[in-house]
Symmetry: C2
């Protein structure tokens, strides 16, 4: 198979609704700062009616990663499910506008396109309430074999462990990818996702995952420990390569015998942390797909994360390719 794509991703196809919020607003609405909570349409509408004036932007964790990859000049493909509605067309437009492959047919007659209500507090933390809508109707029949087999890395979004059909789609993608000699990458997505699916995730990581992305909280949740070193040690035996992000403390890359530390890129003012992990994964996999050394992959990752947290919204606003060139990365 030719290398048509640097990364093919499977994730929830979501449009973000982003508004500023106060800490009091989170408290009043029972929201845990920094987390992602699943909500039904009624709760979503009720929350929306109380939120401030918002802007809408295509989101979805793995989709944001593909947007970041494209911004570096990488070639991406995305698989996910939107509905045949206005927000679904927005999501599809934005994916194709960046030059990524996105060919899954929209869902007709089912729930609406997924939306994530993102409340951004003055400390730049984002708190998400997601109505998954059409995105949970993604099944293994939506996994395009030719796309998976033509991608250097197949990237899976941990959030999808919440849907049984998506877990089957992951199994199919992993089998196809490995059958074609491709790598499987996974992001743990959220510590509550890890709590809900610890066993399933561990099993999947041990048997299928070549490259794992996690933040510190997710990693600690995975191994039920409070010791970062212990968690890193546990992960190292289960996975060839892993990148663990630690906010402003930078990130740690674990590879067979190695443990590399990568500094966070300085940011003048952190505005909105939405998409930080997604863009980190974008930079890392772009570097990897271009054969860059791990330390350089980490630098590209940190650069992409720094760009996205310096403004509202989950996707880069300047070409990451130019930004990387200007830093000599």
């Amino acid at each position: 198979m030719p290398d048509l794509y640097d990364v093919a991703a499977i994730g929830n196809a979501i449009v973000d609704v982003i508004a500023p919020a106060t800490d009091a607003f989170l408290a009043e609405n029972g929201l845990t700062k920094g987390a992602m909570m699943l909500v039904d349409p009624k709760a979503s509408a009720a929350l929306y009616s109380k939120m401030q004036s918002a802007v809408e932007a295509s989101g979805g964790s793995a989709a944001n990663t593909i947007a970041g990859l494209a911004s570096f000049g990488g070639k991406g493909a995305f698989m996910g499910k939107v509905a045949d509605d206005q927000l679904g067309r927005v999501f599809a437009h934005d994916m194709r506008a960046i030059g990524a492959r996105f060919e899954n047919q929209p869902l007709v007659g089912g729930p609406a396109t997924a939306v994530s209500m993102i409340n951004v507090t003055p400390d730049a933390q984002r708190t998400m309430c997601t109505f998954l809508g059409a995105s949970v109707e993604f099944t293994d029949s939506d996994v395009d074999a030719a796309t998976v087999e033509a991608a250097k890395i197949v990237y899976l979004e941990g959030y999808l462990f919440d849907a049984e059909a998506a877990r089957r789609a992951f199994a199919k993608a992993a089998a196809l990818a490995h059958g074609a000699g491709r790598k499987i990458a996974l992001t743990l997505s959220d510590s509550f996702v890890v709590e809900r699916h610890r066993g399933g995730l561990l099993g999947f990581i041990e048997t299928q995952v070549d490259l794992l992305f996690a933040n510190e909280a997710e990693l600690l949740a995975l191994f039920e420990t409070t010791s970062f070193d212990e968690a890193c040690e546990a992960l190292r035996t289960r996975c060839d390569l892993a990148a663990v992000t630690r906010s402003d403390k930078g990130s740690v890359i674990l590879s067979q015998g190695e443990r590399l530390t990568v500094k966070a890129e300085p940011v003048e003012k952190v505005v909105d942390t939405t998409g930080a992990g997604d863009q980190y994964a974008a930079g890392f996999m772009f570097g990897l797909s271009r054969g860059r050394p791990l330390q350089a992959c980490g630098q590209l990752a940190s650069l992409a994360a720094a760009e996205v947290i310096s403004h509202y919204g989950p996707r880069p606003q300047v070409p990451l390719k130019d930004l990387a060139a200007s830093r000599g990365y």
Copy 2:
């Protein structure tokens, strides 16, 4: 009637789709930089398919003005027509989230909510292609008498001169407003609108308008002259009060015997001029409704315009009330 509102506005209820673009893109698609072009759904979709990845935000000229007024701490009401669809709910949410009255029922079974495809070139100019959709279904029956009669200023968006039903709605609003001793304000909106409706606009200004907003190009188009002074003189005899914006040259306020000049607020980097005129009108009418002298109204207007052109999107991103306080305005 009590003063329930500082400003009640009638305008097109539009959601903006905002993307960066090159000058070459405008040329390839036959777009006139800085102008607003009306497009049908087919042309709108065709253009969208060629545009870069975008963000969506509630827009509409007069609606943006009401958002700016609210940001200053003013009380606004908006009348306009959305469809019963996702973007219509976005528009309504954003209007209510800022504390403005917006009670027009969405249109069922007709065209979709209006969208404006806004291409922003590197020189920060915005070029708009608007599909008016449901917004042209606004009729005089959508003008709420109690709202009009309870507003210090009733603000009308010139763009609506393109729709005959809306012109009747303007006539109704003007009669109600003047009957209740209220003021009518009008913005000319766009020089092509002026070209299309010069006679109708002049007649309406002479008989109904107490306060006119225009930019230099619109004013010159109205009086078919290339002399700014001549146009100001012509306007002065037709209208009690007018504010004419001249981009970075500031603005001119014409009142009976007076001609005041207001400087533009300095802006570090102009990013996107969308909403500049709308926010100018917001600041001016907020000042006026609070009994501030004309020079101060102009300063508030310039401040609001400067804020909105310093970022993407047509509405303020910081509370204009705080910004004004920080400048001592």
